[in-house]
Structures are given as structure tokens and as C-alpha cells.
Symmetry: C2
Subunit: 220 residues, 2 copies
DNA sequence: TTGTGATTGTGAATACTATCACAAATCAGA
DNA sequence: TCTGATTTGTGATAGTATTCACAATCACAA
């Protein structure tokens, strides 16, 4: 486990491998080959082996990888052996749906609490969790030194929510807002943007119409 | 507009630029520089210019880009001048939340219909849209030659939903399921995976703890 | 023990992407 | 009209990522 500089793309794929391994485990499989992982993730087997070889030698020539061992190692690499708690800020349609849907089967994550600023919502239930006042976030993050926050507030309130989280000591954020946020250097923010995915799909679809010679992407 | 092979990464950024331009338009700005776009998207101005130069010369040296013109051109490139309708399959927590939340301000997309197979749900309202039987998808896709489908069905039913969509002639899909799907060559499927984003965030957070010398990502 | 078939890990080659840095073009003001 | 301050578009370069292809290794059966 040396790993100087690893690309985000590789980390994404490791997460994917881990998910496949959990599934394989459920199906009772005890070994898996790079080719199987590759086909489940839509990439080449060489890419799988290359990704894993960055961190060590986890396989056995001739047979493949032990499912349990590889999963443990991947979780060690990702840091998800003991995953941090996740909180949601913004108890609107999206926030509540995420809370209700939950994070079962995603490797140990779970939503610990949901917050809002609307006094009319505070105290009401979202699934089985009471909606708490956004002012309480400060305390909750202090209690859980490490926490990931999901921002699902009204359009336009994204920066305010982010600032509140940062002030409370949060270092990792997943945002569903579409505004460009001002993010300090030491905070990691990632985005979920349905409309960008739609743009990518539209572009691909309309391009194929014009040029049916399926050139797919120049590179994944 | 030559563009032989363009990476998905570039397309994603173009989508991002388009979003920034819509915002700039709302704010009444009529020109924008590559540096402004860059700072809103968290990349370098050279990258912005490089991306745009793939498709033509849209700017004016010394001043920048005309907001309206560039937006029109980006939409032409993305194929979103007249965006395809979007449908949702699976009227559970996530599907309904997406429907209710809508796609306002995302460049013309809108959810046209939502489908489910649960007879207890069919006919009920999801926001203002009636939940329709999944059997009707066939007709709806025939009517709208081009359509993007969002899959938000129960875990385990993803492949069934995808197969139904493909049979109905759908070519572009955005899936919220976490299962590895078997996808034919001519169908484009993209995924929204909160748990992968959480893994990336966790990895980054835990890595910084061990090595506070902030090496961020090796790229992007 | 030896042979057979499968699979890993990786050097080398290829392909792709980002960054640098500057000439050419534009504008505003003297 | 001329000057200086900007900003674009892009050749050239540096840096990353992916693919190829194969020696090394292992499981197992004869
Ligand atoms: N990224 C995507 O793919 C995607 C998809 C759909 C919606 N969205 C976005 O998700 C966000 C939420 O959408 P929604 O339909 O759930 O909105 P909503 O209006 O239903 O809910 C927003 C909630 O946030 C609360 N809120 C507002 N400001 C807050 C603050 N500063 N702190 C805490 N809570 C606050 C409001 O009281 C409200 O309950 C919107 O920004 C929307 O644009 C994103
Ligand atoms: N990708 C993510 O980030 C993310 C986040 C949360 C949930 N999810 C996933 O989203 C999916 C939906 O979650 P949810 O909480 O809304 O589930 P849910 O159980 O609330 O709703 C699922 C709905 O799908 C319907 N359905 C089942 N099979 C169907 C079929 N073949 N055709 C049409 N409709 C069908 C069910 O009747 C139900 O109404 C799940 O797979 C979940 O794992 C993904």
C-alpha cells in the first residue's frame, strides 16, 4: 500500500469493485477473476488488475481474487472499513426521499440525521427520523468528529448551507444544488447533477443520429 | 464544428459552461471571459478555451464571449436546443421526489410522465402527474421518438425495467439502481450513485488525515 | 512428478488530457 | 492614430491513463 498519487477515476472504480464484491458475497461466490469484475464494471480486465496493482498484490495467479480478502483490502484502501456518518441538510422532496430510501447495502453508510430551517418542518418525521433544526448541526458534527453532509436545500440556499456546514467543522460534502459554490481549499465537495447527465445522454443520442458509426467516447 | 472524437469529460464541462451562461444571463451579464467561466467551474481558463476551440471560435480577443451567442452554440453542440422529453420509471421515494422537484432551470428538460408496476400506485398523483402503468411506456416512447428514461425502481428490478425500456425503443437511460446492468451496445446508460460519491469523499477525507500535505487528486 | 490450462502483475507501447506560454486580435482612452 | 491593457486560440510540451502482450505463478489431474 504505497500509493503516491491516485486518480479519482481509479478511486471510483475501486468503489465499484467493492460493490461488485459485496454482491458476489451475497451470491455465495468465494473467488472472482479480474475478467468478471471487469465485465460487471464495463471495463477491461487489464484495467482492473492495473488499478489493484497500485496498492499491492491481492490475487493468486491461475485462480483470481478471494472475495472476502479483496473486499477487506478495498475497504481499507477507501477508508470505508468504518464509514463516517452521513447527515442531510434540507428536508424537501429530495432530502426526504434520500432519507427514506436509506443507504442499505452500500457498505455500512447510514443517514444519521436530517436538518431544515423551516420552523414548520422541524419536529415532523421524515421516514422514522425527526427533522431537526439546522442550528443543531454544530453539535452533531462536534459529536461525530468526521461526517459527510448531503446538501439538498432550496435552489439559491446552497452557499448558505455550505457555509453553515463549514463553520460547524464539516470537511466533506455531497451537493445536489446546481449553483456554483465558493469552496475553501480544505473542503471536499462533490456534486450530483441530473441535468448534466441528461446533457451527456442527449449529446450522445443526437450524435449517433447524425453519425451512426457509433464512435462512442474517445475514452471511457 | 468538426469534432471527431471528444471526451466525455469535455462534454460534461460544456454542460457546465452552459449552466453558468444561463446564470449569467439571469444576472443580466452580456459578455463573459474564459477566466470567469473557469472560476465558476473550478478549472483553468486555458482548459475552457481549449474545450471551446474544439468546436470553433466563439470569442473575441480582448473582450471575451457573448453570453447569448455562446449559449446558443453550446446548446447546438450538446444537441439540447430542443431537449428530448424525460420519463421516470419507478414511482417510489426517489422517483416521486425527482418528479416533484422537477427540472426547471436546467435548460428546457422536463419530466413528461412517471410509471410504476404496482397496481396500488397506478392512477394516484405524484405531484401533479398521475402515475401510469408501466405497460403504457411502449406507447409513450413511440409517440416521442426520442426520450430519456430515468430508472428509479426497487433494488433488483433494474434489469427488468431496463429491458422493458429497450423493448419500447428507448436509447438513453439514467439509472439510480446500484446493480450492474447488462446493456446492449447501442443503448447509452449512465448512473447516479450516491454511495460511490460517499466512497470518494471518505477516501479523500481519511487520506488527508494521514497525510495533511493536501495532495488533492493527481488530475481533475 | 509433470503437463495443461487459467490468471495475475507489469514493462513497454500507445493514446489521451491538461498545461504552458505567446502571437494575434481587440478595445478604450489619450 | 497610437499605446497599453486584455483576452482569445493554439502550437508545443508535459503529464496521465489505458491497452497490449507475456513471463511468472498456481491448481489440478493424470
Ligand atoms: N442535482 C440534481 O440532480 C437535482 C435534482 C433535483 C433537484 N435538485 C436540487 O435539489 C434541491 C432540493 O430540491 P427539492 O425539490 O427537494 O427542494 P424543496 O423546496 O422541496 O426542499 C428544500 C428544503 O430545503 C430547506 N432549506 C432551505 N434553505 C435551507 C437552509 N439554509 N438550511 C437548511 N434547510 C434549508 C427548505 O426549508 C426546504 O424544506 C434544489 O436545489 C434542486 O435544484 C437537484
Ligand atoms: N443511486 C443512488 O444514489 C440511490 C440513492 C437512493 C436510492 N437508490 C436506489 O433507487 C431505487 C429506488 O429507491 P426508492 O427508495 O425510491 O425505492 P421504493 O421502493 O420507494 O420505490 C421503488 C418503486 O419502483 C416500483 N417498481 C418496482 N419494479 C418495477 C418495475 N419493473 N417497473 C416499474 N416500477 C417498478 C415499485 O412499485 C416502487 O413503487 C432503489 O434501487 C435504490 O437502491 C439509489
Amino acid at each position: 500500500m504505497i500509493a503516491e498519487k491516485v486518480s479519482e477515476k481509479t478511486i471510483r472504480r475501486l468503489s465499484h469493485y467493492a460493490r461488485c464484491l459485496r454482491l458476489a458475497k451475497l451470491k455465495g461466490e468465494s473467488i472472482v477473476t479480474s475478467r468478471q469484475l471487469a465485465s460487471n464494471c464495463g471495463i477491461s480486465s487489464a484495467a482492473v488488475r492495473r488499478d489493484l496493482s497500485i496498492y499491492g498484490e491481492f490475487g493468486k495467479q491461475g485462480s483470481g481474487y478471494n472475495v472476502d480478502d479483496l473486499l477487506v483490502n478495498l475497504e481499507k484502501i477507501l477508508g470505508t472499513t468504518d464509514p463516517p456518518p452521513v447527515i442531510i441538510i434540507g428536508a424537501g422532496s429530495i432530502g426526504c426521499a434520500l432519507m427514506v430510501s436509506g443507504l442499505n447495502g452500500t457498505g455500512g453508510y447510514s443517514y444519521e440525521a436530517i436538518f431544515d430551517i423551516d420552523p414548520g418542518k422541524i419536529g415532523k418525521l421524515c421516514g422514522e427520523s425527526p427533522i431537526r433544526s439546522a442550528e443543531e448541526i454544530h453539535g452533531v458534527i462536534k459529536d461525530n468528529h468526521e461526517v459527510i453532509a448531503v446538501i439538498a436545500v432550496t435552489r439559491g440556499a446552497g452557499q448558505a448551507a455550505l457555509d453553515l456546514l463549514i463553520q460547524a467543522g464539516c470537511k466533506a460534502v455531497l451537493s445536489f444544488t446546481l449553483e456554483p459554490l465558493k469552496v475553501p481549499e480544505d473542503i471536499e465537495v462533490r456534486y450530483v447533477e441530473v441535468s448534466t447527465e441528461l446533457d451527456v445522454l442527449t449529446h450522445s443520442m443526437r450524435r449517433k443520429e447524425r453519425d451512426p458509426a457509433m464512435p462512442k467516447w474517445s475514452h471511457s
